[in-house]
Amino acid sequence: MVKKLAVLDVNKCIGCMECMFACTRRVGRAGFDKSAIRVRSAGGIERGFVVVVCRACEYPPCAKVCPTDALRVRKGGGVILNKDKCIGCGFCAQACIMGAIFWDDELDKPIVCKYCGDCADYCVHNAIGLVDV
């Protein structure tokens, strides 16, 4: 079954950033510079947190604006990035109103969620999780 990542209950998010660390840890790094998920306060911590993550759109705007077909629409929603085709124009990031396309400054290419669920494995409060598409 095709999965996607979902924000299950944002009120359970404590802002620990373990999801962000988990995402970059996939590539052997400690930090956030390869993370496809981001948690920030909703304008001051008292208002809680916002979890910014790819919603795996059925008709993804990011793919629609990609001039080189580097972003392919995944079956069931979301996109798959073909880095070889990507020219780093950044249109995808502009098209995503969720702000869920992050930028890899080293490669000058987008960071796109792979829906692997590593981040959710480390969310001990179950604010995020993988769900069936």
Partner: protein, 589 residues
């Protein structure tokens, strides 16, 4: 940008006088002393000349993080060191929030701030870019407002720390704190005043790098990471600190008779007060959100939501206020508050001006007793009638400590040790080594801790925990002292790794060695950690002795011998004996 594990060795030196920066390789310090407290005390030795005025430009501020920061869960503290304007001696304060993650991922193991600026500044450290920015327009502002303004004015949302002072820092209240992420503090010993004396209003530090796990180590690293994560998540600490938070133990401590109440008039508040000020009551009535420091799944930070009518005509405001064990003790139990709401109002007021809440509570408790005994009068208090539990008067007193309308408040702003030396009432001026006391009146160990701990903080050696373990048991004073020294030495390792003390059960020496090895730091062993812990502790004590600390001259307020502890009444001769034994042990080893 990618950096190596070893690049923790980069120390950023900021000279506020010359508005100049340098980055130096201090592998020497990080290899020998890990990071955090260990590296900070060595930098303090280098940067702080003997005998200086803590509020002069010569006093350095050092922030240090550790080798596990950003790499493992709960290595989430930043250690600040400076000469304390409150005690005139070693100043060391720890803070969580996003501070350690941001410093490490900005590319530094430590930041050393020296000199003093001619104009009010804030610093932005955005990875390698360091900027001195004019803070004239935010001078004299409270800590929350400064945070709100800088949050919008500067970049790096979500991956940065904003460390700032409130009004008290600029006014040089000796126990002014520095606040990070609105709800976390470098609370104790006056970092805020040192920042104020340097004309430094805030630091905004943004992360822009990541640390590369050595290629051959990645599998091992993930394995050790997962083991640590599992232990953290399954530990008792997780449940305890997430559910009710640190406030969860207040009720039991009061029931035990180990809770300083009304300036230690007794060691236990009446049952109805204890219920009102319990963690359970705060959670049931006011808890609105639990949050966490970066890279910590626990989420111990408890935020209350207080809705108040503040003006006629349906003008309501809802304030978010952090609460913890110590603040509830200091401005709740200590000031005889009868309502949790009043306690929250006080926490908010003290946080707003940016003072250490523990010192503030103890200072006001002393003032209330001294006023009740006629030692001070309304002429001193600028007309305030200080009475236990009278929150509106206490709120005015907080303002007056910052604004200092009379000489009395100038003295209160210098701490209870100083104020009582001017007005008398030293028998019930509850400071140890110049630092206002924590809640514990649990037995001899907590006071040996308060007196001999390098920071005079209950977290130095957790004497209160030892006292509780010893209830109903036979023990010698020597055993207690030895046990406290061993605990304080081990805690130097934790605070050099900048592991939160709440996770101390997770980071055993074996696990620390494993965690270090899995990121390529191979030359550590439990034995070596023990030796280095002792070395760091002695370095801190040597700094203290250098600055005039004298175990034989420690003042012990008589009050603590007048009120029974769970172990019965304490005797001064026993405590003096313990201090003597402590002195012998640390000078021998």
């Amino acid at each position: 940008m990618l950096m190596k594990v070893e690049e923790l060795n980069r120390v950023l030196y900021v000279d506020l006088t010359k508005k100049d920066i340098k980055v130096k390789d201090r592998t020497d310090l990080f290899d020998a002393y890990l990071g955090g407290s260990g590296v900070a005390i060595k930098l303090l030795e280098e940067e702080c000349p003997t005998g200086i005025d803590p509020l002069s430009a010569a006093n350095p501020i050092i922030f240090a993080v550790g080798p596990l920061t950003a790499l493992y869960p709960t290595a989430s503290k930043t250690v600040a060191m400076f000469k304390s304007p409150l005690t005139g001696n070693l100043g060391e304060s720890h803070c969580g929030g996003r501070s350690s993650m941001a410093i490490r991922l900005a590319g530094y193991g430590a930041i050393v701030i020296t000199g003093s600026s001619d104009i009010l500044l804030y610093l932005t450290i955005d990875g390698d870019k360091v900027k001195f920015r004019d803070a004239s327009s935010i001078g004299g502002m409270d800590a929350q407002t400064v945070g709100r303004i800088l949050r919008e004015a500067e970049t790096g949302s979500g991956v940065r720390t904003i460390i700032r002072t409130g009004r008290a820092g600029g006014k040089l209240v000796r126990y002014a704190c520095a606040v990070s992420e609105t709800y976390r503090h470098f609370g104790r010993l006056g970092l805020g005043a040192v920042m104020g004396s340097k004309n430094l209003k805030a630091l905004v530090i943004s992360a822009d790098k990541s640390v590369e796990i050595p290629k051959g180590k990645r599998k091992e690293y993930r394995k050790v990471y997962d083991e640590i994560q599992d232990v953290v998540v399954e530990s008792d600490a997780m449940k305890k600190y997430h559910d009710l938070g640190t406030a969860g133990k207040l009720y039991e401590m009061n029931k035990l008779g180990g809770m300083a109440y009304k300036n230690l008039e007794s060691a236990s508040a009446p049952e109805e007060i204890a219920r009102e000020l319990s963690g359970e009551n705060f959670a049931n009535k006011f808890l609105s959100r639990r949050i966490s420091c970066s890279h910590c799944p626990v989420g111990c930070v408890h935020l209350a939501s207080l809705r108040e009518l503040y003006a006629p005509g349906y003008y309501f405001k809802t304030t978010t206020i952090p609460y913890d064990n110590e603040p509830i003790y200091a401005v709740g139990f200590m000031l005889g508050m009868e309502h949790a709401e009043d306690c929250l109002r006080m926490i908010d007021a003290v946080d707003t001006v940016g003072m250490d809440i523990m010192s503030t509570g103890v200072v006001l408790a002393w003032a209330t007793e001294a006023y009740g005994k006629g030692l001070i009068t309304k002429a001193h208090t600028d007309g305030l009638d200080l009475q236990w539990g009278d929150v509106s008067t206490y709120l005015e007193a907080v303002e007056k400590i910052v604004e200092m309308p009379t000489e009395f408040y100038q003295n209160l702003a210098m701490g209870v040790e100083h104020a009582s030396s001017v007005y008398g009432g030293q028998d019930y001026a509850l400071a140890f080594g110049g630092n206002e006391m924590p809640e514990y009146h649990t037995g001899i160990a907590c006071y040996i801790n308060n007196l001999t701990g390098a920071r005079h903080s209950h977290l130095d050696s957790a004497g209160y925990t030892l006292d509780q373990k010893l209830i109903g048991k036979e023990f010698s004073i020597e055993e207690v002292v030895k046990s406290l020294i061993a605990e304080e030495e081990w805690r130097q390792i934790l605070s050099s790794l900048v592991v939160c003390f709440f996770a101390r059960g997770v980071y055993t020496s074996e696990r620390v060695v494993k965690a270090m090895a899995a990121i390529g730091l191979e030359n550590w062993s439990p034995e070596k950690l023990e030796v280095v812990g002792r070395e760091i502790h002695r370095a801190k004590m040597n700094f203290k002795f250098r600055e005039g600390f004298d175990l034989a001259k420690l003042r012990i307020p008589k009050r603590i011998f007048e009120v029974p502890t769970p172990h019965g009444l304490l005797k001064e001769e026993d405590l003096r004996k313990a201090i003597e034994i402590y002195g012998e042990i640390i000078s021998a080893q």
